[in-house]
């Protein structure tokens, strides 16, 4: 027995590694929890990857959901594209990005290099923890357990959500704490004890959630006109094959949905 999201990932990667299974389904592969019924992939940012995924999904009768077009110009600006298909009574949602949040270009390149080297089509534990720094409370529980799966104590110190775990790590690897504290200031609270550390963890979580809310807010603001237009666009593509529908969506989005949202703090 297989799983449809694993099967889809295999189809996306037929002949070449193009897509890494991410987010909730990746959490299942790492055997932590089953929390999401939708699929999310990080795609390679090239025409072959986008074209192949579109053809695979066209073969399944997928349709475009409201979102950015599955087109490199928007994907390179951090937008997400959303498609959906049905098989009998099951609804499959397939969400795509090429520039996942909180993963810089160097780390993204390393993720692809690691995936190529290992043949693993699933986002690894440490980048998955970075992706999970969202504005949803439940993701921080997942990060807490993901950190326990990390083998490098420095990575654990970067992501742990547990004051118990951090105190234990600090007692075993004091030099690592000094090193990682430059990236994660709350580690400076370790010497102040568990209560101070718990407060710092709560504060850090709220701050991270707010940062993500502000990031999403920039995209939502940039998509305001596109959102207003969408019901009309959707009527236009109703019943059309996916490749045709995506071409229309792309053409309609040009000049309406900016390729990148305005940077933080822009008027």
């Amino acid at each position: 027995m297989s799983n449809p999201y694993l099967d889809l990932t295999d189809e996306f990667n037929q002949g070449r590694l193009r897509a890494l299974l991410s987010s909730g389904q990746a959490v299942v592969v790492h055997r932590l929890a089953i929390m999401s019924k939708d699929g999310d992939w990080i795609l390679r940012e090239d025409a072959d990857a986008v074209g192949h995924v579109l053809r695979v999904l066209a073969g399944k009768g997928a349709q475009v959901r409201f979102g950015a077009p599955l087109d490199l110009r928007w994907l390179a600006g951090g937008w997400s594209a959303h498609l959906e298909f049905r098989r009998e009574e099951l609804r499959f949602r397939t969400d795509f990005v090429t520039r996942p949040p909180r993963i810089d270009a160097t780390r993204l390149a390393r993720m692809w290099a690691d995936a190529e080297a290992t043949g693993n089509e699933v986002v690894g534990i440490e980048p998955l923890a970075a992706l999970k720094l969202t504005n949803r409370e439940k993701d921080y529980a997942v990060i807490g357990e993901l950190a326990r799966l990390m083998t490098d104590p420095r990575a654990q110190l970067r992501y742990s959500r547990s004051s118990f775990d951090l105190l234990e790590l600090a007692s075993k690897y004091p030099e690592a704490v000094v090193e990682v504290a430059r990236q994660r200031p709350l580690l400076g609270q370790i010497a102040a004890g568990r209560d101070a550390l718990d407060e710092a963890l709560d504060r850090e979580r709220r701050m991270l959630m707010r940062v993500n809310e502000e990031r999403l807010g920039r995209y939502l603001t940039a998509a305001a006109t596109w959102r207003e237009m969408w019901p009309e666009v959707q009527r236009e593509i109703e019943g059309l094959p996916l490749l045709e529908a995506n071409a229309i969506v792309t053409s309609r989005a040009e000049g309406v949905l900016p390729f990148e949202p305005a940077p933080a703090g822009a008027p």
Partner: protein, 80 residues
Amino acid sequence: MTGQRDEFLSEEDLDLRNLTEAELNAVWNLWFRQAQATNDLDAALYSHGVFDVDPAPHPSSRLGGTGPRSQESAHRLLNG
């Protein structure tokens, strides 16, 4: 050491690591099938990406495909 630790996920969640590959897939597939019961409720929502609400979710986003049959199926599953 006190043996205490922070708990983030349930024992049931963490027990996934004790399953064989086939058992994991069976549980995963069953969960996915059962989760279809909420398709009607989350038709406009997003789990990933930078969008929050679909202004005009397609009727087939709801349970059971397109057409009247889907509405019946959704009603049956949501209301027993």
